[in-house]
Subunit: 196 residues, 2 copies
Amino acid sequence: MTSPRRERADAARNRMKILTAAAEIVATHGVEGLSMAEVAAAAGVGVGTLYRRFGDRSGLAYALIDEREREFQTAFIEGPPPLGPGVEAPARIRAFLHALTDRTVEQLDLLLMAETAAPLARFGGAYDGYHAHLSMLIAQARPGADAYVLADALLAPLAAPLLAHRLRDHGVTAERVKGGLDDLLAAFTTRTPGAP
Amino acid sequence: MTSPRRERADAARNRMKILTAAAEIVATHGVEGLSMAEVAAAAGVGVGTLYRRFGDRSGLAYALIDEREREFQTAFIEGPPPLGPGVEAPARIRAFLHALTDRTVEQLDLLLMAETAAPLARFGGAYDGYHAHLSMLIAQARPGADAYVLADALLAPLAAPLLAHRLRDHGVTAERVKGGLDDLLAAFTTRTPGAP
DNA sequence: CCCTTATCCGGAATCAGTTCCGTTTAAACA
DNA sequence: TGTTTAAACGGAACTGATTCCGGATAAGGG
């Protein structure tokens, strides 16, 4: 029910080699050095293999991000509060947006590259998880609101290109961005429309 | 003091030929057909000319957008209210975001292409104008807030990739997006922190 | 252990964006 | 009008992403 057949041994081995080589290259030469041909050569495989496994440049970038991604997902779904369950929705929303800000800044280069290669790739995978989570919390904090659209609106300011632009070209800090989000949230979650 | 020298006649002529040809191609084959070589051939110039004039693919796209852009800028700076001056800031903010939503949706293809080609290109040119305008209005509506960051946060949900994703892949309408922004704004501009 | 076949592999070929550079030309000046 | 020169021109060359496909090979069945 999960996988029709297990991944072949050589395929698994190559995936590992590729990811290791790619991580090495990023560590050494930065994201700019991460060309498909380079990675393939460093991993000792053909470029075809690389594409079969990861789809495209953007897919490779997301694969590199993936490990920390899982940790983060776990943290906000079942970790300790205020990120995980155990406190009121507004506090969790705030904690989530702050944590996501840090996470995004931390891997800004890879995220930027991934979005450059395929602008809509952002909305596959992890984004859906963020969106579902935030939608749920917003629905709790503000019953009757259009949580689906609002979740997008609160996630949007954390898009890699915008953060990269402000942080790098204008000296805005991550803390200041969080402050702005808090301001938005404070007004927004203080009173729900139909509160007692 | 303005321009060190006027644009050469042949250069101006070629700019026109290029823009005409590019617009024609977009109208006929859509944005996908807008390759640099195609445009150069259709305009009867070399690709070098195209690059000298517009910098890159993204620059060409923004040049195609530019005409309506000017109209829009004029409208929100000095046009009739509620977009232009004459009403309170909250109303202008709302009108501005609604208008920008429509404008973005209208030229979604070109904007998406432009951002794909150069993800940070968005933040040159027009964006600065939007940001300055919105900052000013926010500073009026909510004195003491970090208008600079908040302006980015309110502009972010209108990024082309997000709109493209929701409108095309999930059936969300532009009206619904506006509704979400209104919801955010309502809470946000109803009471200023230090109001009487 | 051998056969069959779905899967995977490698790297040449393709394709589009961008850069380079020798040549041409508009336009300022004498 | 002839001269000078900064600016513009065209298109070949380069770069890196992506696609293609004939040849290898792991894994299950006899």
